[in-house]
Each structure stands twice: as C-alpha cells, then as structure tokens.
C-alpha cells in the first residue's frame, strides 16, 4: 500500500512537472491586413498571443508561391504593441498567387508552432506562369572578362619592355 502511494505521488509529480515545462500558448485573432492583397503589397499581421509563462520570442514564417515555384521562407520576429504581436511585411514575389504564414512562439525555450494559413494574392504581372527564364548559365565562375587579365598583364609587360628599350 505504501509502495502504491509512493508510486502515485511520483507519477503525479511527473505529470505536474511536465505541465509546468510545456506552458500552454494561445494564438488567437490572427489577422492579415489587407485580407486579399496584391503581390508586392505591404501586409500587416496581427495576433493575440497569451501564455501562463513569459513569452521569450514570437516569430512569423512567410513563404510566397505561385503554381510554378516558391520563394524561400522568410522568418521575422513579431513586435509586441498594445498587447498584440504585429509585423508589417512587404511581399516580394511579383508573380505570387498565394502566401502562407505560421507563428512560432517560444516559451521556456520550447517552440509552439501553429499550422500554416494560406492567403490568396493577386499577381502583379498577368503574363503567364513565370516565364521560362533561360537555362541559368553553364556553371562558370560568373566573372565576365576574367580571361582578359592575362592579356592586360602581357600588355603591361610589353609597354615596360619597350620603354626600357627606348631609354637605352
């Protein structure tokens, strides 16, 4: 009986400590303004975030896509203003047809991540699906005219040599 009581107390303690570490985070009333933006618009994200413990950091991850490609995810820290976390962001992809965002709240070093929310965007250009953009080059070193350096050095050597010859 004594053993059972000890085990129960231990289990209860473990459960309570687990609850204390994983503090609950509520992310509510998340809004995007304007709700139906155009590509390259400035959008403002606002969220009410509460937790039993102090919130260390609130990040928002944003990714802009069309049917053909996505820009890599951008991550920003949201600022606490008048009890709400906000971020103003300039959309960057002119052909974007949608963007997705989610909010990552860190409490006691533990990250709590919301699911992604999709927002439809009207693309700025309506000329197709992103173009073909060429084949992206041949893997060169990207320094045009690099091969002219030896020629330049050779010219300098000649000038030096001829001047020396004349001075004799």
């Amino acid at each position: 009986m004594k053993k059972l009581l000890t085990a129960t107390i231990l289990l209860l303690g473990l459960c309570l400590s687990g609850t204390a570490v994983n503090a609950e985070v509520d992310v509510e009333n998340v809004t995007v303004d304007p709700a139906n933006p155009d590509a390259l618009d400035t959008v403002t994200f606002t969220a009410t975030i509460t937790s039993d413990d102090d919130i260390d950091e609130v990040l928002i991850k944003i990714k802009e896509c069309d049917d053909n490609m996505c820009m890599p995810t951008e991550t920003f820290e949201m600022n606490l203003e008048n009890g709400k976390y906000t971020l103003t962001y300039d959309l960057t992809y002119d052909k974007a047809t949608y963007f997705e965002y989610n909010i990552v709240t860190t409490v006691n070093g533990t990250e709590n991540e919301t699911g992604f929310t999709k927002v439809t965007v009207t693309p700025v250009s309506n000329g197709g699906n992103g173009g073909n953009g060429g084949n992206g080059g041949d893997g060169g070193n990207g320094i045009p005219g690099f091969e002219l350096i030896p020629l330049f050095i050779a010219t300098l050597i000649i000038i030096f040599y001829m001047r020396r010859k004349r001075s004799r």
Binding site: K61, K63, C65, D66, D67, N68, M69, C70, M71, P72, T73, T75, E100, F116, G128, N129, G130, N132, G133, G134, N135, G136, G137, D138, G139, E147, I149, P150, L151, I153, A154, T155, I157, I158, Y161, M162, K165
Partner: protein, 181 residues
C-alpha cells in the same frame, strides 16, 4: 624594334596559351558540393563521376516541389543507377530529418509512388551556389564529368506534360537524352 615586336608577340601568345590551359583543367575537374543524407552520412557530387546527377533543391512546404516528385520518380525508374542519380536536397534549415522522413512517408502513401533516391539536407552551401533565381524547386543537371549542364527554377516534367500542367513546362527528357546516349 622588330625584335622587340616578336618578343612581345611571343609573351602575349604564351600567357594567353597558359591561361587557356588553366581554364580547361578547371572545367575537366567538374563541380563539387556536399550535403548530409537522412542517415547522417556525407554525400558528395564528386563521388558520382561517370553518372548524370540531377540535383533537386526543394522543401517539404513547397507545393510546386511536390509536383516535381512524381516526374523525378519516372526518371529514376527509366534510367539505371550506372547512368543517373537523383539528389533531392532540402534547402530549409528549419526542416529536420524527422520532418523530411514524415513528408516522404505521407507523400508515398498518398501518391502511391516510391521516393527511393537520395534525400538530404543542405547546410546553406548548395542553395547559395546553385539557386540562382532564389526559388524552389530549382533543378540542376550535372554531366558525367560533374559539369553543370542545366539549371532552372520552377516545375519540370520528364517527357510528357501531365494534365493540369502549363504547356510550356520545361521537359528534362531532352536534356538527359543529350547526356545519356
């Protein structure tokens, strides 16, 4: 004066010739990149000399990247491992091995396909070097010598454009046929 001109000409030709030699030796060497596969082992492009390598830069959250996966599967099944290898490298540093493995499992179940080629994570070096349009998916094709033969961002198909894809979606088949006879 004539002697000086001849000596100058020899110097110019020698330097140009030497610089040409240096350039060609660089291109014979081919490209190199390294990433960690899902088992934690290092994978390098130079270990695959003699094979065509498709480098697929992607992330699990990228919808258009998902559209490329079934096309890559067709390519993977159509060529032997002596001819071609595919490397899908996740360029998002926040995506862990567990996230990628979960994605592969659910994608395979949903689409009834097998993503059995090499998957891994980029430490930032591959995306920095090869994502020239800063977008995913970006596909790069390296020839048997490791030279970058093709690179482009966006959805690609193998040889036929599936329903729902734009008519001008780039095809990988002509590029691979050119490299693998």
């Amino acid at each position: 004066m004539k002697k000086a001109f001849i000596i100058s000409l020899i110097i110019i030709l020698s330097i140009s010739f030497l610089s040409g030699c240096l350039d060609s030796s660089e291109s014979i060497e081919g490209e190199e990149f390294v990433f960690t596969n899902l088992d934690g082992a290092q994978v390098s492009l130079s270990s695959y000399r003699g094979k065509v390598v498709i480098l697929d830069m992607w992330a699990t959250w990228c919808g258009p990247c998902h559209a490329v996966m079934p096309e890559l599967e067709k390519i993977y099944n159509d060529y032997s491992r002596d001819q071609l290898e595919i490397m899908s490298v996740d360029i998002d540093p926040r995506e862990s091995v567990a996230v990628i493995e979960d994605f592969i499992d659910s994608f395979e179940n949903q689409n009834n396909i097998e993503l059995s080629w090499i998957f891994g994570r980029d430490d930032g070096s591959i995306s920095e070097k090869y994502m020239n349009e800063s977008a995913i998916p970006t596909l790069a094709v390296f020839d048997q010598q490791g030279r970058l033969h093709y690179r482009k961002a966006g959805v690609h198909v193998y040889n036929e454009i599936p329903e729902g894809f734009p008519e001008n979606t780039p095809k990988l088949a002509p590029i691979l046929n050119e490299l693998i006879s």
